[in-house]
Symmetry: C2
Subunit: 226 residues, 2 copies
DNA sequence: CTCAAAATGTTGTAAAAACAACACAATTTA
DNA sequence: TAAATTGTGTTGTTTTTACAACATTTTGAG
């Protein structure tokens, strides 16, 4: 089957065989599309009909509010999914943009078919639904994690909490983050120059070190000053 | 069945008949418990085994971080559920407190039994699972909504966004919110006195009016100054 | 009804953030 | 490879916030 190698790597279809996938392809009205970097895959406000699964490359999810302020919701790597929540909630329109951050291969599925298993043909569909729920719960945890960050009362605390968390996830004091400084400022909802100032201060104090998207955090020094 | 009147009112068990509920009661290891105002129903850090459904009264979900700062995650009314996400994610311990805000009647269910339908006896269990997923997706939307608030760059914007949203939900310019000023400050992650100052300013400008938990917002005046 | 506890509004001060403007570095692309 | 664009750090100014302290009001328990 076309692109099965990539499909197999994703969380949603991990346990699905090529044969079962073949059967599901028709049922889910699967299509594939290639996007160039910075292409808009989905526009905020357009009718929500599909679920998008990143097979190769990456994309970012953004929201533009009524005042025109942009906030990055999250970044999706290969295996990332866009549009499930709105599928389950029944939202009529996408409330976010999905934008390719690299040249990407995307699998597009009919959202209605995806979340409503048809017992007849594709018998493994229920496994996919279970995986989808798990994915939503994971996203939920991410959102709570981000809320925890944004609840911190100043930029320094936000940055440290973010870096500490990334370090924990990486299981190492040295790690890479997916954002450049400008994007990190957006993610943390702080002013870019203010973030830059705080980062420089933390570096000067020897608590963190960084170069591009590569960071180091000295856990022992975190709580000395506070 | 005991307390069936209240159970029937909840979203998770809305479509379940008394007979089916009876069958499920055993399967889910259902227990009932009464709590007094300010009782801790669930402690952060204790082993996560159950899902809690508020049948009467209300509760709040709080998180205490490593520095001792408290943040209210959300408030639950009758029908509200605590602990589903951790059930699906498989988290070993509760990461939040659940505290009764009134004298409350709570239904306690085994989380493992709840999310894994047993085809044999309780045949309506799959409906409950569907409702649970819907609930998780709703919570997801709430979290995103709260993130949208916390992403605003100052207290004034946060307050206005919050009140505007509450007004929209109520479908009226006059509405009640579930928080007192102290709680609202926690919810918005801002200093209480700073919030108080901003609220007073907005009142003075004629943009909002309030008394206790009752608010009024003049939508026409919102965007004049910004 | 009374009294203690909690909530609220206000004010002054110090700290932090947003904002704007700029120089320079890095990256992209034509 | 050169030119244009984007990213980054810095600095000064203005605005906003956190914090602390206090007086007053409201609430709730007994």
């Amino acid at each position: 089957m076309e692109n099965f190698l990539e499909i197999k790597k994703t969380k949603i279809f991990a346990e699905i065989s090529e044969n079962d996938m073949q059967a599901m392809a028709y049922c889910l009205k699967i299509k594939f599309a290639n996007y160039n970097k910075n292409d808009t895959i989905v526009s905020q406000g357009t009718p929500a009909e599909n679920v998008y699964l990143i097979l190769k490359g990456g994309a970012k999810v953004e929201n533009i509010d009524s005042r025109g302020d942009i906030s990055i919701i999250t970044k999706l790597k290969a295996g990332g999914v866009f549009g499930i929540e709105s599928s389950y909630s029944g939202e009529e329109e996408y409330s976010e943009y999905l934008i390719a951050t690299e040249n990407s291969l995307v699998m597009i599925m009919n959202r209605h078919r995806l979340i409503n298993p048809c017992q007849n043909k594709c018998k493994r569909h229920d496994i996919v639904v279970k995986n989808l729920v798990k994915l939503i719960v994971e996203r939920n945890a991410e959102l709570i994690e981000k809320l925890r960050l944004l609840s911190k009362k100043n930029t320094r605390e936000k940055v440290l909490a973010y870096l500490y968390r990334q370090s924990s996830l990486a299981g190492a004091a040295y790690f890479d983050i997916p954002y450049n400084k400008t994007e990190l400022a957006n993610y943390l909802s702080v002013d870019r120059s203010a973030l830059s100032t705080v980062l420089s201060k933390l570096k000067e104090e020897g608590i963190i070190d960084f170069d591009k998207k590569h960071y180091h955090i000295d856990i022992n020094k975190i709580n000395i000053n506070k």
